[in-house]
């Protein structure tokens, strides 16, 4: 098999063309870096406390700000309608598909991870990179308070 385009979707290209078709001439400027920070694990995964971070909100009318909520029992659902996921191809009725709190609890019971953090965190997707960085610090403080060894981010 041969082809003339890459297999995986370029969302940068897609969203630029999509919003241009809607009459938005100035494309969104994505943040770009050539390297990333790195903090090594200090203990094996089987001893790590794992915290989840999502882009979903607690409710449709929740304020646009970072939040934390209890990991267990996991919420029945989260608000996702405002996010740009593929509404024509799938759904977000199953929390395990985008915020796997119960899966992590099961992995903790099986000894694959040490424990699930008592809270998960949410950070809304916004255009302002400056404000996102400020919100990230709010999230970091909550994760640090909970003794999280690994933050797993599952953006929709």
């Amino acid at each position: 098999m041969t082809k003339a385009h890459r297999t995986f979707v370029s969302y940068i290209d897609k969203s630029r063309e999509y919003y241009a078709a809607q009459g938005y001439d100035a494309p969104y400027r994505w943040a770009t870096h050539t390297n990333a920070p790195f903090t090594p694990f200090t203990k094996p995964l089987s001893q790590c406390r794992v915290g989840l971070v999502t882009t979903a909100s607690l409710s449709p009318d929740a304020p646009l700000s970072p939040y934390t909520a209890r990991s267990q029992p996991a919420p029945a659902s989260l608000a996702t309608e405002h996010l740009s996921w593929h509404k024509g191809a799938t759904d977000t009725d199953d929390l395990g598909a985008y915020l796997p709190l119960d899966h992590l609890a099961a992995l903790a019971a099986d000894g694959v991870i040490g424990s699930l953090a008592p809270r998960f965190a949410g950070i809304p997707t916004i255009y302002s990179q400056r404000r996102t960085n400020k919100w990230a610090e709010t999230i970091r403080e909550a994760l640090a308070d909970d003794g999280v060894d690994l933050a797993v981010l599952t953006p929709l």
């Binding site: 979707v9 809607q22 770009t32 920070p37 996921w85 191809a89 899966h103 994760l143 797993v152 599952t154």
Partner: protein, 115 residues
């Protein structure tokens, strides 16, 4: 979310992103990235498929533990049994008139909110 991962990592908390927008995450550059080639909305596995979600999550966690360098990434094998044309139908440009009208309506709404 990639910016959040960079911030957490720079401040001493190891991070793992499990996500389906490969190009966005790659451009921003993150410490650890597990790519799942699925429609946006189900980064950890197809909705309703708990077994595959758990397999993907476990593989991603094991990858994260083994990573020793920043910008480490892995492509996690996935099985998608939903609509096979999902790559084409997301943000489709097929109906340009409807798109132009939607954009105009949105701008009008935003202008109305400001006044």
């Amino acid at each position: 979310m990639s910016l959040t991962a960079r911030h957490l990592e720079a401040e001493g908390i190891p991070t793992l992103i499990i996500g389906s927008a490969r190009d966005i995450v790659d451009e921003i550059a993150v410490p650890r990235f597990a790519f799942t080639d699925l429609p946006l909305g189900n980064p950890v596995g197809p909705s309703g498929d708990a077994e595959q979600q758990r397999r993907i999550l476990t593989a991603a966690l094991r990858f994260a533990e083994a990573a020793v360098l920043p910008q480490s990434s892995v492509v996690i094998p996935v099985e998608w049994t939903g609509p096979q044309d999902w790559r084409e139908t997301y943000m489709s440009l097929d109906d340009t008139e409807a798109l132009a009208a939607a954009g105009a309506e949105r701008r009008a709404n935003q202008a109305a909110k400001k006044t």
